[in-house]
């Protein structure tokens, strides 16, 4: 998940919404089987991307030093070993850099509707009515293939370590075992690929803004606020019953939420806490929060990554019936591009919990603190 801020206002986006949606959907392929034949990588380059993450993008001129400084782990999870990634995973990933994919993945241009915490918002350069860009996508087919490959290996490992499985999908191996370490090395590759994927989408989004708003040179006014993983396992040290303990924290459908003062929080945000991004559905809004000390103690510094579904996809499709979700959103000033009819139904507001309620729980429980609310204007979906 990634948040960019612009120097433009919400009104400036509304004025060109159609044109901007058009250019964005041309530059950033989305949807089923989306790929970029024009940005296909050979195996050697792909392996470097998996190892170096955003460091590679910086070297190629697609990322600034400032960008890298505002990404979790500076856009490169250490310990990545491309030799642990199968040929099949590389083949799936080679034309997928800079693509959104489908389902709940999206690119959303919106604006700051409300600021709750002036000091934290100021640290992030966010102010009322400022236009923003949210990017939600990950490691695409490469990551899914690593998952499939690893499931087969873990199935064997669970057997050989005598681990009883209540469900085969829970197949596993001890973290310190050969299989465990190999998996973590492959997973780091997927995370690095995801960072670069979002970086390339950022690059083409900047190009789109330059084109639409007639900016000159490399000026797009889009700066990276923060980029954070939402499905990753990390080795971290936390207090457990008063003792500093090394843990493997698995944040699945969850995001990191570190408090102020933590050394892994970028310098710019160290006095306020790590930005936490919680997107809602495309018809409601999204939130920026910051991690807190109490959240760090209670959840090992983790928060939910989204609102969560209330309807299954099939249920949502039935419930949507003959409705035109796209028109309903349009009347509320939200322009949706590129989404299939099925995706629109599956992703409509009624299929999700209300993100306002979910975020209120995070805030009231002290897990995170609300900073700003972002409302959507232009959504590119798969």
């Amino acid at each position: 998940m990634r948040l960019l801020r612009s120097g433009l206002s919400g009104q400036e986006i509304r004025n060109v919404a159609n044109g901007l949606a058009e250019v964005l959907s041309l530059k950033i392929p989305s949807g089923l089987g989306s790929s970029r034949k024009d940005f296909s990588q050979d195996v050697k380059t792909l392996r470097r991307i998996l190892e170096q993450g955003v460091g590679w993008a910086h070297e190629q001129g697609y990322a600034s030093k400032e960008d890298a400084a505002h990404i979790e782990a500076q856009g490169c999870i250490s310990g990545a070993e491309p030799s642990q990634v199968s040929e099949r995973a590389l083949e799936r990933g080679k034309s997928q850099l800079g693509t959104l994919g489908s389902g709940n993945h999206f690119l959303e241009v919106g604006y700051v509707r409300e600021v709750f915490d002036e000091r934290a918002a100021a640290a992030m350069g966010l102010e009322k009515d400022l236009a923003t860009v949210l990017i939600h996508t990950g490691s695409r087919g490469l990551g899914h293939q690593i998952c499939s490959d690893s499931l087969s290996l873990m199935m064997q490992a669970a057997r050989s370590y005598g681990i009883h499985l209540p469900d085969r999908q829970l197949c596993c191996a001890p973290i310190g075992s050969v299989e465990g370490r190999k998996y973590l090395a492959a997973m780091a590759c997927a995370a690095n690929f995801a960072f670069v994927n979002r970086q390339m989408i950022t690059h083409w989004t900047r190009e789109a803004f330059q084109e639409v708003f007639g900016m000159v040179g490399s000026e797009s006014g889009l700066e990276l606020v923060y980029d954070v993983c939402h499905n990753i396992a990390k080795l971290e040290t936390h207090q457990v019953q008063g003792k500093a303990t090394r843990l493997c924290v698995h944040r699945k459908g969850a995001t990191r939420a570190f408090p102020q003062g933590h050394r892994e929080v970028p310098e710019r945000y160290r006095a306020v806490g790590q930005p936490v991004l919680v997107p809602g559905d495309m018809g409601r809004c999204s939130y920026v929060l910051v991690g807190t000390e109490s959240g760090y103690a209670e959840t090992f510094g983790s928060a939910c990554h989204g609102a969560g579904r209330v309807m299954s996809r099939k249920q949502a499709q039935k419930a949507a019936g003959g409705r035109s979700v796209i028109k309903e959103l349009e009347t509320r000033g939200i322009l949706v591009k590129g989404a299939s009819r099925a995706t629109l139904a599956e992703e409509m507001s009624q299929a999700y919990k209300n993100v306002d309620d979910v975020v209120e729980v995070l805030h009231q429980a002290g897990i995170c603190r609300k900073v700003a609310r972002l409302d959507p204007l232009v959504v590119v979906k798969g």
Partner: protein, 138 residues
């Protein structure tokens, strides 16, 4: 009768599979996968390719078979409208699939499948034939 039926699963999608024989059931699993990603009637049987899959047991073979189809689509854009299992035992499957390469101007987009899972995976023999269930990660 259609050889598969969807069942509800929040976030993901479950499929119940039926077959008079095990070969039938695996063919129906392929058809279910196609039906999830695209309108099957829009796929033309232009090319035929051979598919081979191996796994330590029958249930894992079903997941590996679906993983093979997911890979063929995601890496090469291959979509199939007809599946034929030529030989099948507990650890090995050889089959052919007919179809064409994904063409965004012609094909009706439905849903992207991330993977086939082992969650609540079942494959059983009944008096009337075989029954199975698989949950896809979407």
């Amino acid at each position: 009768m259609q050889g598969f039926r969807y069942f509800e699963h929040t976030g993901d999608l479950g499929v119940e599979l039926y077959g008079d024989t095990l070969e039938d059931l695996f063919e129906h699993a392929g058809e279910a996968f196609t039906d999830i990603v695209i309108d099957p009637s829009s796929v033309r049987p232009l090319q035929e390719i051979e598919l081979r899959v191996e796994a330590p047991d029958l249930e894992q073979l079903l997941v590996e078979w679906l993983s093979e189809l997911i890979f063929r689509f995601d890496a090469h854009g291959r979509l199939f409208c007809h599946y034929h299992i030529r030989s099948l035992d507990a650890q090995r499957l050889v089959g052919t699939a007919r179809g064409e390469v994904f063409d965004p101007t012609r094909h009706t987009i439905r849903t992207e499948v991330k993977g086939a899972t082992y969650h609540q995976l079942e494959l059983r023999r009944y008096e009337q034939g075989w029954k199975g269930r698989v949950i896809f990660d979407l």
